[in-house]
């Protein structure tokens, strides 16, 4: 579809805003609806849009297989790692209040941000991976 100038221009315009919106959803998960899961899905959909317009090979140049494979597990590791960090500072697993980041309220707020980032990374990477692997018809 990349020969169609309307689709190309509109998607080029939209993709950065979709990605910015995904980060907004992540960052405002504590104030309004949203969070890591929704933000990750929205971020993945911007990559899907890019692939739909420019094709799989061009998409893989932007988001390489290696990066998504690594990010798949990095997100879960961030989540689990914050839990282990809580253990190390004398709390229970995932007891964010024990993190040395200020008082109880602030520490758990930042801990929740941390795990939301982990969720966002994993969800976005997995959705992108599934889409790339599913839509790989022309090549195999």
């Amino acid at each position: 579809m990349k020969d169609d100038i309307i689709i190309r221009v509109i998607s080029n315009l939209l993709i950065p805003f979709i990605q910015l919106y995904a980060l907004y959803v992540l960052a405002h998960g504590d104030l309004g609806p949203g969070g890591g899961f929704q933000g990750g899905v929205i971020f993945a959909s911007s990559i899907v849009l890019y692939v739909l317009v420019y094709g799989i090979d061009e998409g893989r140049k932007r988001v390489s297989q290696k990066i998504t494979d690594v990010l798949n597990s990095i997100g879960v590791m961030i989540y689990g790692g914050i839990g282990v960090a809580c253990l190390m500072f004398g709390g229970y697993y995932l007891q964010y209040g024990k993190l040395p980041l200020g008082d109880l309220k602030e520490a758990s707020h930042l801990g929740i941000y941390g795990i939301e980032i982990g969720v966002e990374v994993t969800v976005a990477a997995v959705m992108i991976t599934i889409f790339f692997e599913m839509a790989r018809r022309g090549n195999d």
């Binding site: 949203g34 969070g35 899961f37 109880l104 309220k105 929740i112 599913m134």
Partner: protein, 184 residues
């Protein structure tokens, strides 16, 4: 009030149409429409977090992934019946039997809902168990204004960790199953 009935009507129509459709691409689009209507219903019920998830996951990425899956299989549904079975008498009695079974199960379920508290009833048991504790304490204990986020990430952090692991497992399985096929 009237908009709830309109939404319910379109919900039922899109669900039945999705079942009846032989063109699987149309089915996927109808399911996407179903999710979108469902997102509006969640918003009407003031469950904006669920509505957001339904809109982005149900109506958004699921549709794309199902269409991608269709590109690997076929677009048209096969009739799915064994040969010579379609118009025989036996099949008709089978479908009649299953219709009765569905009807009875549905009646039992509707009967079960009669015991449930009314919508928005402040005396409902679910509003007197842990909910008051969360409403009072979640801001102090988690520092997060959105109570849903506080619940998901703090009080039920293990649940969310499990969900993230499920997503990770799904991604790993897709890599293992589909990438191997490509290398052969």
């Amino acid at each position: 009030m009237i908009i709830d009935f309109i939404l319910l009507f379109f919900l039922v129509v899109s669900a039945i149409a999705a079942i009846r459709m032989k063109d699987l691409l149309s089915t996927v689009i109808l399911l996407s429409a179903y999710s979108l209507i469902m997102a509006v219903v969640w918003t009407r019920l003031n469950a904006v977090d669920v509505a957001f998830t339904e809109a982005s996951v149900g109506a958004g990425i699921t549709t794309v992934l199902l269409i991608a899956a269709l590109s690997r299989t076929r677009r048209w549904e096969g009739n799915g019946q064994r040969e010579g079975f379609k118009s025989s008498k036996l099949f008709d009695s089978h479908s009649l039997l299953s219709f009765i079974a569905v009807l009875v199960t549905g009646a039992v379920l509707v009967y079960g809902t009669l015991d449930m508290p009314d919508y928005g009833d402040p005396d409902a048991p679910s509003h007197h168990h842990v909910a008051p504790r969360y409403i009072k304490g979640s801001l102090e204990e988690s520092g997060v204004i959105n109570m849903v986020t506080a619940l998901l990430a703090n009080y039920r952090g293990y649940d969310t960790l499990g969900e993230t692991t499920v997503i990770f497992t799904a991604g790993t399985s897709v890599i293992l199953l589909l990438r191997k096929k490509r290398a052969q």
